[in-house]
Every structure is written in structure tokens, then in C-alpha cells.
Amino acid sequence: MTSTRSLFWQIVLLALVIAVCVFPFYWMVTTSLKTQVVALEAPPVWIFEPTLANYREALFDDGVLRTLINSLIIAVCTTLLALVLGVPAAFALARFEFRGKKDLWFWFITNRMVSPIVLALPFFLIARNLDLLDKHITLILIYLTFNLPIVIWIVTDQFRGIPYDLDEAARLEGASQFTIMRKICLPLAMPGVAVSAIFSFIFSWNELMFGLILTRSEAKTAPAMAVSFMEGYNLPYGKIMATSTLIVIPVLIFALIASKQLVRGLTMGAVK
């Protein structure tokens, strides 16, 4: 029952949303193609001769490429680890009866709320003692503190939405709980798993504080790299935006691929 007029307004509003979402990204990309002189022109110019110099410089002279690879390794590994640890826990929270279940759930979620600033220094000192500074594994582990809760939160909810009949049917056929999880419930919880994977990836990829404090060069992450250009002395805007673009692109591709699952997986239904 939608009239043409309301349809028109819908399109206008949707276009507005799209524009607001996309514009900063567009500006970032165009700025990254500007030389410093063009970038500083006031008022800003929209049409100019693009240059890839910023990218060349960032990637090859400043080692952004290396940090991107580091970030990729870390984000992928921590996401996988969070899934491997979190999915079974979510299954147990959704399917098993045991005492203290709600408290356990809340404790998991609580970890998401701890400020990295609290954990950073203790973790730094511990990592130092274990000779784990500037290693990928350190970040992979510490990122669990915010990824695992997200995985458990979203996936528990998805598991709860799967009819319990299916478990029983499988149990009657002799499937173990592990088989039930892997073969029956996990495929059906895929939207949630995908969403939690996206978020884990995004959160890990974007993380700055731990990256700054726990790495130096070998495992330096891309956001830490981007921030390191921020010397108060002469801001290379083009290069910073080029680095930023390089940082955003991979996670964007990943998120766009999985965006179909986003809505189905984000029901966040059962907070209890």
C-alpha cells in the first residue's frame, strides 16, 4: 500500500543514508590521491590530478605493507581462535543445563567491557617476562578478551533459535554432543557465526591500544602504523589517508562479502 509519494521520500532518505555513509570514505580515498600541496588547498579541491605516490611511499618506504600483513595474520588467527573456543562454549550455554549458567554467560560478556587500558600494562609486563613482546601470538591472545565475548554472545543466541528437536533426533541416531554441534547446529547457526566472525575481525583489525603497546616492529599492526605518522611536526595528510585507505579496504571487502548474513545473525535475542 505504498503510494508513489511515499516511495519517492523513501528513495530520498535511503540515498541520504547512503551518501552520509559513503562520503567520508570517498573523501579519504580522494585525499589519499592528492599531493600534500593539493591536500592543503583551501577551500578543498574536488577535481585534481591523482597520484599514487602516497601509496608507493606508504607501502614500500614506510613498511605499511608489512603491518597490513601483520594485522591480517593477527585478525584472522584471533578470529579463528575465538570461534574455536567460543562456538563450543556458546553451544553449551544454549543447550546444556548446569548451575551458574547465567553467571557464566555474564562473566563472558563482562570481558567485553574491560577497558584495554586496564589490561595493557599488566599484559605488557607478563608478555615481557614470557618474552612474548612484539609477537603476533600476544595480540592474538589478548584480542580474545573482546572477541570471545562477542562470539559467545551472538552464537549462543543463534543456537537457541535452532529447534531442540533436531538435537534429539540426532541423539537418537547415536550422534555425540560434539557431532550434534558440528554437523547439525553449526551449519544452521552460520549467520551468527559469520556475523561474530565479521565483528571479531573488525574489532581485531581496528584495535589500536594493544597494538601500540605490545608491538614494536615485527608484529606492528596497521592502525599503530597509521597513528605513527601523526608527528606533530608535519602531518603528511595524503600519506595518512593512503595508509588509512589501505587499512580500511581489506576489512571492508571482508565485511561486504559477509554482509548478507549481518541481519540474520544479529538478532541478539537472548540476553539472559
Partner: protein
């Protein structure tokens, strides 16, 4: 349904996660609690001594701490309603039937802000909101607004970016909630009333509550943790206009190196977050 499994099975499933989180989460946290009870300045490690709750006392009586806290909650109180309001609007828009192509495009573009690295948002903010060569002033018809250097404007700018980055998340969560409303229930309501507001308030809202609670918890926790974007955009300035609680803790702990005090601040912050989360769950979360 009843599913009591053996202790061994149960442990097999939750053990690894509990163990993993205990190591990476609890150990440093306990360490932080330990430091918070000591005079613990990184540059004066020879003088470490147990001082009981003195750090906590100092935090609780420190005007600046509470100012930062107040500022943080003011940000939460400004940005979160905007995010929920706009997010709800977008979710409702996307929930309407028809216009599949535009909506798919819109859903895809919603992913953009979410995926943008927080630190990058701050850097981008510096470029776009620059008084002279920033595109924002240009788009506002050549306005000459000093965004970064003016306390009020800087705060508005932070709100803008926070809203830009997180409204899509809220929108998608709420959209997921809307799709949970059984079609026939919504139609039953449409037979009673033409008002979309009535339908939203009385029929759809209950289905949105779980998602909203999740949003409240996550956004509150994240705002209390908010650091990267502000750090790269204003560093808490000008003055203390955008010095939110996490920037303050970072300043105390990593710039003034008073880890004891910073830990006490962080522990208090964590307690506040947890209490708030519990309140949200009690207050808003109702099972449909």
C-alpha cells in the same frame, strides 16, 4: 527440554573458553587490581609500596576524574539517543517492502562506517573538519567554523563521528529485531491502526528490546572505553573538552606513568560498566 550432560562433556565444551579467557582476561585484571592498591609509578618502581585504598580515595575525590566521567556520560547521553533514533529510522526504512535494489545498496553502505578503523576515523576527522582545508566547512557553504579548536565544536564533532560510525550497527541490530516480528502480528496491528508510531511502540518495540539492550550494553561499554578516535582527532582537547574517561586513564597511566592510580580509575570504570549492564538487563530486557 532437559539436557544434563556429564561434567566431562560440559567441561569439554566450555573449558577451553573459560580457561582461555581466564588466562588472558583475569590474570592481567588481577594484576591491575593489585597495582591499584599500590603506589605504582612506572618511572619510580623502587618506591612501590602497598597503600591500601589510597588510590581509590584519590580517584573518588578527584574533581577532574568526575568531570571526565560526566563528560563521557554526556557523550553517551547525546550520541546514543541519536544512534538509536537514526538507527531505528533506518531500520524501519529498510524494513518497508519494495525497492530491493536501493535497500541492498543501503545495507552495503551501512557496512562502511562499521568497518572503518576507529583510529582512521580520527585521522579522517582531522582532514575533513579542518577549519581551512576541510571539506565540511566547504559543504556548509564556505563556513568558517573552527571545529577542532573550539571546545563546543570539538565535542559536536566527536558526537558526529561516533554517530556516523555506530548508527549502522544499531540500525542492523534493530533491523534484525524487526524481522523477528511475525508478519501476521504486524498485519493484525495494521488492521487496527494506520499509525506507524502506534505499531512501532506497541507491537514492534517489544521485539526490539533484546537488541536494544544489547546495543545499550555494547555502546555504553564502548563509550566508556572510547579512545582511539578521540586520541587521533583531538587528543582530549581543546582544553579538556573531549577528554573522556579512557583518555584520562591513558594519560595518567601512560603519560604520567602512575599505573596505580590509573588502575584504580579503570577498576572503578569497570564496576560502573558492569553495574550499568546489569541495570539494563533488569530494566529493559523482557523475553517476548
Amino acid at each position: 527440554m532437559q539436557n544434563r550432560v556429564s561434567k566431562r562433556t560440559l567441561f569439554g565444551f566450555i573449558g577451553p573458553a573459560v580457561f582461555g579467557l581466564a588466562i588472558v582476561g583475569i590474570a592481567p585484571l588481577l594484576y591491575a587490581v593489585w597495582t591499584s592498591l599500590h603506589f605504582f609509578n612506572l618511572t619510580k618502581l623502587r618506591q612501590v609500596e602497598f597503600i591500601g585504598l589510597a588510590n581509590y580515595w584519590e580517584v573518588l575525590t578527584d574533581e577532574v576524574f568526575w568531570q571526565a566521567m560526566g563528560r563521557t556520560f554526556f557523550l553517551l547521553g547525546t550520541a546514543l539517543p541519536l544512534q538509536i533514533g537514526l538507527g531505528l529510522g533506518i531500520a524501519l526504512l529498510l524494513h518497508q517492502p519494495g525497492l530491493t535494489l536501493v535497500k541492498t545498496l543501503c545495507r552495503l553502505s551501512l557496512v562502511l562506517p562499521m568497518a572503518t578503523t576507529y583510529a582512521v576515523v580520527g585521522l579522517l576527522g582531522q582532514v575533513m573538519f579542518n577549519q581551512k582545508f576541510g571539506v565540511v566547512n566547504q559543504l556548509m557553504g564556505g563556513a568558517d567554523i573552527n571545529w577542532i579548536g573550539d571546545p563546543q565544536n570539538a565535542f559536536i564533532m566527536i558526537v558526529f563521528w561516533d554517530v556516523w560510525q555506530w548508527t549502522p550497527f544499531v540500525a542492523l541490530v534493530l533491523l534484525a529485531g524487526l524481522t523477528m516480528v511475525p508478519g501476521e502480528v504486524e498485519e493484525a496491528a495494521r488492521l487496527e491502526t494506520k499509525s506507524w508510531w502506534v505499531i512501532l511502540r506497541y507491537v514492534q518495540l517489544p521485539f526490539l528490546l533484546p537488541g536494544l539492550t544489547a546495543v545499550l550494553i555494547l555502546r555504553t561499554a564502548d563509550t566508556l572505553k572510547l579512545f582511539d578516535m578521540v586520541f587521533t582527532l583531538t587528543r582530549g582537547g581543546p582544553g579538556a573538552a573531549t577528554e573522556f574517561i579512557s583518555l584520562m586513564i591513558q594519560r595518567v597511566g601512560f603519560r604520567a606513568f602512575d599505573q596505580g592510580l590509573a588502575s584504580a580509575q579503570a577498576v572503578i570504570l569497570l564496576i560502573i560498566t558492569i553495574v550499568l549492564a546489569q541495570i539494563y538487563i533488569r530494566l529493559f530486557y523482557k523475553e517476548v
